[in-house]
């Protein structure tokens, strides 16, 4: 498969290491078509194709977008006929304590109304200049068969991402879990009370800073 650039996304692509844009040659024709329709659909929100995630057969296309547009992006991919991401398979976060937020992933420059600028509530949270939570959404289209991964970033200092519980109801528990584990606040979620942890648990066990083999009386 030729590795062609997408004209509308080429300037924004390569936020990390690949100045030429990511190598999409591993994608199958179907996966490539899915990525292309998603890119076209989300043109207004500045999606950036990233290296495909490895999976069975060819890779799974991966798109990065700014967290300001989370709700719009998710609604669009769900409602669009060609992308058809009717099902949310998985939602969670990855903690990168050493990484700084990539170029245009929202940093106080006129963010959406939902995204507050105050730091997260709670203990064990050390806001710093570096440290990023990568929130990922694994989406599944049943017809035609296709998987798509969306990614967005939230800095330690402001770990807020708009909630998509109103888009897929499956997101409800996933967001509560991610809130438990990482302390990410999902703005607009109706009830972020602890799901897997008990009430009053201190700290965020999913984070890299959380100690492994320490016991705590309770």
């Amino acid at each position: 498969m030729p590795n062609e650039e997408h004209p509308e996304t080429a300037p924004a692509a390569g936020a990390n290491d690949e100045p030429e844009g990511p190598d999409l040659s591993s994608l199958s024709a179907d996966a490539r078509a899915l990525l292309d329709s998603a890119l076209e659909l989300l043109r207004d929100y500045g999606p950036r194709p990233d290296l495909p995630i490895q999976g069975e057969g060819s890779g799974i296309p991966r798109l990065r977008f700014d967290r300001r547009h989370t709700l719009e992006v998710c609604r669009a991919v769900k409602d669009d006929e060609r992308v058809g991401a009717k099902m949310l398979l998985c939602l969670s976060a990855v903690d990168y304590p050493e990484r700084t937020i990539s170029r245009d992933s929202g940093s106080g420059n006129g963010e959406g109304p939902d995204v507050a600028s105050e730091p997260a509530e709670g203990e064990g949270d050390e806001p710093g200049p570096v440290g990023v939570f990568e929130v990922f959404y694994v989406l599944q289209s049943l017809e035609p068969e296709g998987t798509l991964v969306l990614k967005t970033e939230a800095p330690y200092a402001d770990p807020v991402v708009p909630s998509v519980a109103g888009v897929w109801r499956a997101a409800d528990w996933y967001e509560r879990e991610a809130h438990d584990m990482f302390g990410i606040r999902f703005a607009g979620h109706p009830d972020l009370s602890p799901l897997l942890l008990y009430d009053g648990f201190e700290g965020y066990p999913g984070r890299k800073e959380f100690p492994f083999y320490e016991y705590r009386e309770f």
């Binding site: 995630i53 490895q54 999976g55 069975e56 057969g57 799974i60 991966r62 009717k86 099902m87 949310l88 398979l89 998985c90 969670s92 990855v94 903690d95 990922f136 694994v138 049943l142 068969e145 998987t147 991964v149 519980a165 109103g166 897929w168 109801r169 499956a170 409800d172 528990w173 584990m181 109706p190 009830d191 009370s193 602890p194 799901l195 897997l196 942890l197 008990y198 066990p205 999913g206 959380f210 492994f212 083999y213």
Partner: protein
């Protein structure tokens, strides 16, 4: 019989599931606590039901009693050690869990698995699927008040587990799959024992099937109870039998074939109404399909050969990258999202547990049903708390 107008529509998310509902004069609402220790909750699961007489008005599920931090623990273990943690997620379907994890690491490393090992994996996974469904059929019968079928089911499950013990040394928690193959080849008498086992399982299945499936009392307890529409099922991320019962023909083994599943001819049974009985009977049908897959695999499998790739014997250090691998577990679609930073331990491992999503729809399914039905509705989801709580 049960209430006819069973138009279960989910209340909006912000209807205050976490707060106590105001009791406003008539009708009188009562709080009923179920669990965490309750024989019908299949583990440690607690539901707080708001009931109006016998009708469930609202429900607040509480999970997390079995939370062991498995995903976090994975970050501290070497890749091969993680296999034991996966055994303990869905502890009814251990082989299926091991399979999806080792496949994720193999994809990351670009590792080829010897054909014989892959066939053995498929055979063991499908046997495990039958064992898991047999347990479901048994407990479904018990939940509805039928004692006898459980005897046949448990006999069949025990036979399967005896074979598992011969293979791996353990009835459950096998720790038998390895990245790149299997720990060791199966014992010499594996194939004769399997050939002997197949008709026995079929017999156990048929016996419980005949006793239970179309039994009038059983039908009265399960038919038309808590139907879930296809739209709701997809929206809540229900997968596996719970999704297919609602009429959506979607099985990862068919839709996105992994392992060797494109080499087998099998059907994907679907339900019509998405009610409890459909969710039950679909699993019975799946057992027969699994038997057929095993028979085909036994024919196709090379009689001998290597079962572990030479790369898998070393310390596993996959290159940096991300992988998402899906598989059809007995309970639904399991996914493993694995981030590697090139070291000998996963950087981040996220499991998409099928029971977690299936259980998240419990509120939709229980509201507006009778208290007495809540047990069979929960049972029909076939949850395993080890996987929900991780």
């Amino acid at each position: 019989m049960a209430d006819a107008a069973r138009n279960v529509t989910a209340p909006p998310l912000d209807s205050g599931a976490a707060q106590a509902r105001p009791v406003s004069g008539e009708p009188v609402e009562m709080l009923l606590n179920m669990g965490p220790q309750h024989p019908s909750t299949h583990g440690v699961f607690r539901m707080v039901l708001w009931v109006d007489g016998e009708k469930i008005v609202d429900i607040v599920p509480h999970i997390g009693y079995l939370h062991r931090g498995s995903e976090k623990l994975c970050e501290g273990e070497q890749y091969h050690q993680v296999i034991t943690l996966f055994d303990r997620l869905d502890y009814i379907a251990n082989f299926n869990n091991e399979h999806v994890y080792v496949r994720a690491v193999e994809r990351l490393m670009g590792l080829e698995v010897p054909e014989r090992a892959e066939y053995l994996r498929v055979i063991l996974c499908e046997l495990n699927r039958i064992a898991s469904h047999l347990l479901f059929i048994a407990t479904m019968g018990l939940d509805a008040g039928a004692m006898t079928p459980s005897m046949f089911c448990f006999r069949g499950r025990e036979r399967i587990q005896a074979l598992f013990e011969a293979v791996s040394g353990a009835r459950m928690m096998h720790n038998y799959f390895r990245i790149g193959g299997l720990k060791e080849d199966v014992p010499e008498d594996f194939m004769p024992r399997l050939r002997e086992l197949m008709p026995q399982i079929r017999e156990d299945l048929e016996e419980s099937d005949k006793l239970l499936s179309f039994n009038e009392i059983f039908l009265a307890r399960l038919k038309d109870i808590s139907p879930v529409t296809a739209e709701d099922a997809i929206d809540y991320g229900l997968t596996g039998p719970c999704l297919r019962a609602s009429g959506v023909e979607y099985d990862v083994r068919k839709a996105a074939p992994y392992s060797l599943y494109d080499r087998f001819d099998f059907n994907v049974p679907t339900g019509l109404d998405g009610d409890c009985w459909d969710r039950y009977y679909l699993r019975v049908q799946e057992c027969y399909e699994s038997l057929s897959i095993i028979e085909q695999a036994m024919e196709q499998m090379p009689a001998e050969g290597n079962v572990l790739s030479s790369l898998g014997r070393r310390l596993v250090r996959p290159p940096a990258g991300e992988v998402y691998v899906r598989a059809e577990n007995p309970r639904g679609e399991i996914g493993v999202y694995l981030v590697s930073d090139g070291s000998d331990r996963p950087y981040r491992l996220k499991v998409r547990p099928p029971s977690f999503c299936n259980l998240s729809a419990i509120r939709l399914m229980l509201i507006n049903t009778w208290v007495a039905d809540s047990v069979v509705i929960l049972g029909s989801l076939d949850i395993v708390m080890g996987e929900v709580d991780r």
